[in-house]
């Protein structure tokens, strides 16, 4: 994958007033998710009510940026033509340390990816916008979450 991801003509998000805090934070290189003040659970993707207890007391907080790879796929034939120049590329399911799972773009590490790998937030410019991508935690690397 040597292509400049930021030059891709890929479809961007369909942002609403409710989801804007997530995308505003993403543009600044942060991962912000909702937390429920009634049941204490973290919520992703953004909603007007907590899907666990239906409370409306949801507040936005920065996530730790740490996660675990639940599954991944190296995409050879993308479903959208805008991704063709980047193929093959990897998408994965990232279980955030806070609990919820997010589907994200996974940057290559130095070793072959494995389910269970620990990941770190790695904000990446894709298709003209900064997205909350992830990268594998390298062995013995002293990396801190952003």
């Amino acid at each position: 994958m040597s292509v400049d991801l930021n030059m891709l003509k890929t479809p961007g998000p369909t942002i609403t007033a409710l989801t804007k805090p997530f995308w505003d934070a993403a543009a600044e290189g942060r991962l912000k998710i909702q937390h429920c003040e009634d049941c204490g659970k973290a919520v992703f993707y953004p909603r007007p009510i907590c899907p666990h207890c239906w409370s409306k007391r949801l507040v936005w907080k920065d996530a730790s940026g740490r996660g675990r790879l639940k599954s991944f796929s190296e995409v050879h034939k993308p479903g959208h033509p805008g991704w063709l120049p980047a193929a093959p590329y990897v998408v994965g399911l990232v279980e955030l340390a806070e609990g919820p799972t997010i589907l994200s773009f996974i940057l290559p590490g130095t070793r072959p990816l494995q389910v269970g790998d620990m990941l770190l937030l790695a904000p990446t410019s894709i298709g003209g916008r900064v997205l909350p991508a992830f990268k594998p935690v390298e062995p013995r690397a002293e990396e801190k979450p952003q």
């Binding site: 369909t14 639940k70 796929s73 991704w83 590329y89 894709i126």
Partner: protein, 383 residues
């Protein structure tokens, strides 16, 4: 049969085609509906219930009224069933329930789709579109690849285990002249040699989209006794809907079919191992693997060994998708799920011709929609 909750008395099926040109979905619905009602030996006016799929080509809204008008029907119960590949099986129990509720007596359940060269992209505006698509995950292939990778990581299942499912489907399709892959077998090596689409998913582990149509007519078990064809009874049903996007799935290695099948078995007083036919929804190889395990036919993670221990052909000890499954027959969009119902009816009637199974008393039919999200299971029994 005392436990019958309703009966399928007519079936119709259109031969799948790769592409159609200048044919509307409504026209195809009319063709396949006529076949099912003729097969039932009913007059069209006897149809007083109508179940249809969502967003039928030409008409996103008012679908039941549009189709009723097109067919010249005036049903006393009409509805859309929107459960993706589970819509077909989902229609069968809803038809029985509507009859039991006294709303109608004979229900036409119909799904069809044309397939033009340049179909427009779907105008989705939902959480998948907002939170998955921007990261490079468009379409179902990637979702099922993620499910497959998770199964391999958790249980050590291999590419060869999954390829056996596609090869068996192709083998069974060689006895169905209507199947899109009739005359085109593919063994395990061919499946593994086919292009990688989204690892670990190979091209031949994915259904071929086709145009086509499927329809069934459902009536009460009492009324079914006086019909032209030997009825096939609905003995039990179960359904479960858990999520839409794969990222929100409660589990990646077990799906909502587990609970749907458990309910269908409990309602019918049957068990998975008693089934004479397994008519299992097979959009991808991983779907069959998970369904075999969720049905309790083997322990979680054990589907590969189970496949090696059994013969899935019509002559085998565990006939599975004798029409070729959708992997061998082709997937006519939402009608794809109904192919599993129609084949089960053929087998339980003893009308499956050269692919007729021996003992044909009980069949399990499963339907699955979205990303292992929407599940319906029904147990059918011969009269």
């Amino acid at each position: 049969m005392s436990g019958a909750r309703g009966s399928i008395v007519g079936i119709g099926e259109l031969k799948p085609q790769r592409l159609t040109s200048g044919v509307t979905t409504l026209e195809m619905i009319a063709e396949v509906s006529r076949l099912a009602v003729l097969d039932a030996g009913l007059e069209p006016a006897a149809i007083d219930g109508l179940l249809v799929g969502p967003q039928v080509g030409e008409t996103p809204q008012h679908v039941p009224a549009t189709i009723a008008e097109y067919l010249g029907l005036a049903p006393t119960m009409a509805n859309v069933v929107d459960l993706g590949g589970a819509s077909g099986a989902g229609m069968v129990w809803r038809a029985s329930a509507a009859i039991e509720a006294g709303m109608c007596e004979a229900v036409l359940c119909v799904l069809a789709n044309n397939r033009e060269e340049a179909a427009p992209r779907s105008p989705n505006r939902n959480p998948i579109r907002e939170f998955d698509v921007p990261f490079g995950a468009s379409g179902a292939n990637i979702s099922y690849a993620l499910l497959m990778q998770a199964h391999m990581a958790e249980y050590g299942s291999t590419a060869r285990d999954f390829a056996m499912i596609a090869a068996a489907a192709r083998a069974n399709a060689q006895l169905n002249p209507d199947a899109i892959f009739f005359g085109k077998p593919a063994d395990v090596e061919a499946v593994l040699a086919s292009p990688m689409i989204a690892s670990p998913l190979h091209l031949l582990e994915i259904v071929m989209p086709v145009a086509g149509g499927e329809a069934v007519v459902v009536t009460s078990a009492e009324r079914a006794r006086s019909m032209a064809k030997r009825p096939v009874h609905l003995l039990g049903a179960g359904e479960k809907v858990t999520h839409r996007a794969v990222s929100q799935a409660p589990s990646l290695t077990s799906g909502p079919l587990k609970s749907a099948m458990a309910r269908a078995f409990a309602q019918s007083g049957t068990q998975a191992r008693e089934m004479d036919l397994l008519s299992l929804y097979d959009c991808y190889t991983i779907m069959v693997a998970t369904t075999i395990e969720d049905a309790g036919l083997c322990a979680p993670g054990g589907f590969g060994a189970w496949l090696r221990d059994h013969d899935l052909s019509h002559k085998g000890d565990k006939p599975l998708n004798t029409h070729g499954g959708q992997l061998g027959f082709g997937q006519p969009d939402l009608a794809g799920g109904m192919t599993h119902v129609v084949e089960a009816v053929r087998q339980l009637r003893g009308e499956a011709g050269e692919r007729q199974i021996g003992k044909a008393e009980l069949a399990l039919v499963t339907g699955n929609g979205a990303t292992m999200s929407e599940a319906t299971a029904i147990v059918l029994g011969a009269a």
